[in-house]
Structure formats: structure tokens, C-alpha cells
Subunit: 202 residues, 2 copies
């Protein structure tokens, strides 16, 4: 029986496109992207979804209290019979209501080696701090910012001549790679969470 | 003209031994370890230094105010005509007096990918957080804990069956490797510091 993924985004959603490519290529066996939701009007990711004939919907968040908004989003995800939720550049914290609606079934990808450089502009933070390795992290989502148990990470070197753009691009290639792997691990259920550690059981 | 290294330690000083091996093997051309200082009586690193015929001295820190203590240590380093200082498991913060006595000439090695997991028991912190990559960092020392511009880092994977001991041992092998490299970079002067970034110029 197929697994249905819901994707939330606020902008370009390049990680949505990477997941859609992986699904289309059979790299996440039995999975389909059921619906894409944006909290922002005009998010390019919505157009990209429509071009791929994937259901896509804007639910504007402006002016709404967090849980009231999340109830609308969760209702849409349930309508589309979503099994798991992938955040792809979704610029909102989730309410406890949302998190408990999909227990251990919400993933996010963040462009740093968490717990270093949470929040915005992680690549710039990394460059300015002067780290020699940067990377990205796929983690389960809870109601805190860039927290939750880590499913996968990948590292990339920082080069002396890197700009924010060249570093972000090197990290993005790894994001696309490990997000697909992480979704597969979670959908296949071949893991357990021990404390904060995500350990494979397959 | 040879470069003279002073090493400060508080315990085993395995990184002192790795540096001493590198010096003996010619991997840090023209360098010698001039003196080893411990702030603790009975630090095994002192015995190891003596076995290698390296000058070694305990200067007990107990009960002394930070700068008063550091003035004693700096005096000993100057007596031994030290060009640069390497901390190797030295369990004290340095005073501004110490830091300004050797500007950009004090290195420390820390068993994490800073800025993640500063302070004590970094390997345990990393395991408990559930990161998938750990590592180590060689950085210039200022008066703050595990801060200062980063010269080199190395990463190691964290395995599902790792204990604190197996992870620490995997990191330690990388510590020994990059500390030698970093000392060489600093002694050869082939770098500049731009903001917090240490950039090679050689």
C-alpha cells in the first residue's frame, strides 16, 4: 500500500522538487506526493507542483494565530490522506497541535550541521564563524526551532574562496541527496528513537 | 632558525605525545618542543615528557588567581624562548594577559566540531544529541572557552553502536593528525585571519 507525503513550503521549495524527482524515479518505493501547501501567496514551489500535476494549495497564514492556522493545514493534509509531512523551506514553527497530529512523521531539512547554526542564513553564519566543514541535517520536527532527533546529516568542506552562494550550492546538493534517503528510512520504519538518537534497525 | 613550542597540559596529554612524535619524525620541519608545563601535580604527561628528555615542569594552579598564575607560566615559557603555545588537555581558561603575551600564537584542540559541543565531555554531548557526524577543531585561543578562529577541523561518522569510548577514540586519531598540520600552518605563517576566518596564503 502506497505512502502519501505532504510537503509544506514558503518559497522556491527546491527540496520539494528534489523529493518529487526521487519519487518519480522510484528512489522512494511506493511513495507519492499527495499535496503541496504554501503559507505564502506566490511561492514558486506551488507553480512547480502544478506543472508536475501535484495537488497544490496556498493557505495564507497572515494574521492567524499559530494553532488556528495549523488546524487548517492539518485538515488539508488529512483530506489528502497524508502519511508523513516534509518541510521544504517552510518558514513557520509548528504548534504542538500539528506536531502531535503526525507523531514522528514530520521531517525538516536544515542547511547546517545542527546544533551549529540554527535559524536563518545558516550558510552565512557558518562562513562568518569560520568553520572548515559545513553541511545539512534532516531531523524530526517538534515545536522548537531546528530541534528534534536527527535522521541523517551530510558534511561538505568550506573552501577559502567560498561565498555564501558557492557554499549554499555545495550544501544544497547534499540536502537533495539525504532528504530522499531520510524519507525512505522513515517511511520504511526501519529505525528506533533512543533518547534523541535515531538508530537504524533494518 | 628553529621554532620552539611550549605545551600546556593537565592530564595524559595524548596530543602532546602526538606533537612530540610529529616533531621527532620531521613532520613539523625546524620545530622543537621546548618545555611542557602542567598545572596539576601527577599529570602523566609530565612523566612522558621526561621520558622523551623534554624539559617539564609542574606549576600548581591551586588557590592562585588566574592572572597571577598565568604570569608564572608565561615567565617559564619566555625562559624557554617559546615561539608558540599548544594546549593539550589544559583544563584552564587563559587570562587576557596570557593571550596578549602570544598574539595568534596559542592553539588548542577540542574534540567536537565547534561551535557544537563546547566545554567538557564533548563526545558524550555529541552522542546524546544524536549527531551523525562528530569531529575535532584546532583553533586559536582567546580568553573565552573553546572560541577563537578555527585553523582546521576534521569530521568522523558517528555509528549507531558507538559508545563514548569508541567515538572518542575515532576522534582522537583525527586530533593527532590535524594538530600537527595546524601547528605547521601557524609556524610557517602561511595564513591570514579575515574576520574569524583563517585563510591559507601559501
Amino acid at each position: 500500500m502506497g505512502k502519501r507525503i505532504g510537503v509544506l513550503l514558503s518559497g522556491r521549495g527546491t527540496n520539494f522538487e528534489a523529493l518529487a524527482d526521487s519519487v518519480a524515479a522510484g528512489r522512494i518505493p511506493g511513495a507519492a506526493i499527495a499535496v503541496v501547501v504554501s503559507n505564502r501567496e506566490g511561492a514558486p514551489g506551488i507553480e512547480r507542483a502544478k506543472e508536475r500535476k501535484i495537488a497544490a494549495q496556498v493557505i495564507p497564514s497572515k494574521g492567524l494565530e499559530r494553532e488556528a492556522y495549523d488546524r487548517q493545514v492539518v485538515a488539508v493534509l488529512h483530506q489528502h490522506k497524508v502519511d508523513m509531512v516534509c518541510l521544504a523551506g517552510y518558514m513557520r514553527l509548528l504548534s504542538p497541535f500539528f506536531v502531535t497530529s503526525f507523531p514522528n512523521r514530520i521531517l525538516n531539512i536544515h542547511p547546517s550541521l545542527l546544533p551549529s547554526f540554527p535559524g536563518l542564513e545558516s550558510q552565512r553564519q557558518a562562513l562568518e564563524y569560520g568553520v572548515k566543514f559545513a553541511g545539512c541535517t534532516v531531523h524530526f520536527v517538534d515545536e522548537n526551532l531546528d530541534a528534534g532527533p536527527i535522521v541523517l546529516q551530510a558534511t561538505v568542506p568550506v573552501r577559502d574562496d567560498d561565498t555564501e552562494e558557492t557554499l549554499a550550492s555545495r550544501i544544497l546538493a547534499e540536502e537533495h541527496r539525504i532528504y530522499t534517503q531520510a524519507v525512505r528510512i522513515v517511511l520504511e520504519g526501519q529505525y528506533k528513537i533512543v533518547g534523541r538518537r535515531v538508530v537504524k534497525t533494518g
